[in-house]
Amino acid sequence: MDVLLDIFGSANFWAAAVRIATPLIFGVLGALICERAGVLNLGIEGIFVAGAMAGWLAVYLGAGLWGGVLVAMLTGAIFGLLHAVLTVMLGLSQHVSGIGITLLATSLSYFTYRTALPDVTSPPRIAPFQPIAIPGLSDLPFIGPALFQQTPLTMLALLLVALIAFVLYRTPLGLAIRAVGDNPAAVEAQGLSVQGLRIGAVVVGSSLMSLGGAFLTMSAFDAFFFGMINGRGWICIALVVFASWQPGKALLGALLFGAFDAFQIRLQAEIGQVVPGQVFLMLPYLLSIVALVLVARRADYPRALLQPWFKGQRH
């Protein structure tokens, strides 16, 4: 019991939870925007890898940290555009195209990394983003260290949740995005371009996904290594369902995962290897599956998800 109190009582733990949740927040928001517009983007796992590699490489080659962020977002946007062309314009299977994008983005990233740095054995390091303390707020007990002494990308992720929720629910653009995912015929009747909105949503969503990867190499760690994404993208796809396609719940889901991960690391350190380490590593995946099964019945899928739309199509 004391162990649990020690863990949950430390601000350090909550700071770690927010940190671990950050890439998931970017990923879930990105996936959410795509799916709200009616396009499932299984390219997410590969776009994470591409964002991580491209952002890191840009900084390594001297682009500066924010330059790296920009490069990562552009990389994600390009893969998003490819996915949008295949699924929105050509109407191909969103599942298979997404898997293809993941394979392409992953292999292209690994290939580029190997080609750019042919002879390195240990991954070279960059100077990553440092935490900034927001004056006043960071001194708040508890919440201060957790929310207001993070690196800029974490703060950006938290701000994006509010921004995206605002755009989706309070602006005409958000209304249009939600409508193309639900009832594209109605959007076309309004004289708006279904395909244009969908392509835009997938491109923007994908560039957010790549920020999740960029956070890992430019903020959480200072290097790129093979296999570092390790399923984080897929977790985001599960989290979107868990979040019922709502930004606020997406944040909550990502934070729960972050807290769980931070907790298991500390618990292992405190009580030692009573249980094989793999059990804890399995749990996020198992919890995702359980969450999917529990939520699926009342999941309010965007009704036009997975359905291609061609101009002038009638139902």
């Binding site: 298979v96 195209s97 094989p276 399995m282 599956i289």
Partner: protein
């Protein structure tokens, strides 16, 4: 000039073949870009890849050895996708199949090879099949999306296997390496040719492809699978037991991926380790798509993908160009085939705009 799209009702076999070949060629052309970027010559790289994959008896045997699990995971994806059951979990099913083979075949049972080999294959098939039946039931009962669940299960299974080979299944003679106790000699698949690595798993794979072709084309279940894949609602309306058919497809699909695991563990490695598959499950999806979901085509597509991997490894050793090029070819092939699928579904018609004639 403008163009419009016209739906094709049915695409001929020749057209399908041309689209698959065209896609592979387009992928190879696209690959020239990264090869040039890496400072190599695309033509040299291709010729080295072909030599490395087919240039000698040894090279060809390595290609067929690599193709063996890909045939089985390719068939696993092909049969599921045909029924629009999105099994993305062949990787996990492969590991569960291999695990079942090791559990049964490493001393639990004693019998001659003629019985032992079928026994571990059935064990692996059932284990892999159940691994797909469970998500399918979750989909039917709770509406839980099988794509995400089968994907997530891949990670669960691999961690589970790691836990076992570092724990209860660990080989005490492995000098600390995390690998399982070895299979008995009776449970090992014989080599097809002495001193070459290709083994009887290849025969199993080809036989599975032929059986699956017969199943899909010539049986009632095959008809039901095709009907369910084309239009689930219509199939249900026509009285086809959709849920039962999906469960059978799930068992066959997962089972074939499980067999791939048995084949690898018993034909190549002899023990289970967490590097048994370098992504055979995911490459299987590409193989199935390249083959247009045709069981017999899967055999050839698997050999193509295997040749790319084996050839790229040998090219990489000769030129220093990263062997991740192979993954790149495979990924681009998948995307090109997808685009090809667009041309199978639609005929693109060009129309000349009416030009007004002067003076009228």
């Amino acid at each position: 000039m403008s163009f419009r799209l016209e739906s094709r009702t049915d695409a001929s076999v020749a057209l399908k073949l041309m689209v698959s070949l065209g896609a592979a060629v387009a992928a190879l052309l696209l690959v020239a870009i990264p090869v040039l970027f890496a400072g190599g010559s695309p033509l040299t790289a291709y010729s080295l890849i072909i030599q490395g994959a087919f240039g000698s008896m040894f090279a060809f045997s390595e290609t067929l050895n690599r193709a063996t699990p890909l045939i089985l995971t390719g068939l696993a994806a092909a049969v599921a996708f045909r029924a629009r059951l999105w099994n993305i979990g062949a990787e996990g099913q492969l590991y569960i199949g291999a695990l079942a083979a090791v559990l049964v075949g490493s001393g639990l049972l004693q019998m001659p090879p003629a019985l032992m080999i079928p026994t571990i294959m059935i064990a692996g098939f059932i284990a892999g099949g159940l691994m797909m039946v469970i998500p399918t039931i979750l989909k039917q009962r709770f509406g839980a999306d099988e794509v995400v669940i089968t994907l997530l299960l891949n990670f669960v299974v691999i961690l589970f296997v790691q836990m076992l080979i570092e724990g209860p299944l660990k080989d005490p003679l492995s000098m600390g390496w995390p690998q399982s106790v070895p299979l008995l000699a009776e449970a090992k698949l014989a080599k097809l040719v002495p001193r070459l690595r290709m083994h009887w798993g290849l025969v199993v794979g080809v036989a599975a492809a032929i059986l699956l072709w017969v199943l899909v084309r010539k049986t009632v279940l095959g008809f039901e699978i095709r009907a369910v894949g084309e239009n689930r609602a219509a199939a249900r309306f026509a009285g086809i037991p959709v849920d039962a058919t999906m469960l059978k497809v799930a068992l066959i699909s997962g089972g074939l991926a499980g067999l791939a695991g048995v084949s690898e563990v018993s034909g190549v490695k002899g023990y289970l380790s967490s590097d048994l598959s370098p992504g055979f499950g995911y490459s299987g999806i590409v193989v199935a798509m390249l083959a247009g979901l045709s069981p017999v085509g899967t055999v050839f597509a698997a050999i193509f993908v295997a040749a790319v991997f084996v050839g790229a490894d040998s090219m990489s050793r000769a030129t220093g160009i990263s062997n991740y090029l192979a993954d790149l070819v495979v990924a681009l092939s998948l995307l090109c085939v997808l685009v090809g699928g667009f041309f199978l579904r639609f005929r693109v018609r060009y129309e000349r705009a009416m030009t007004p004639v002067a003076g009228e």
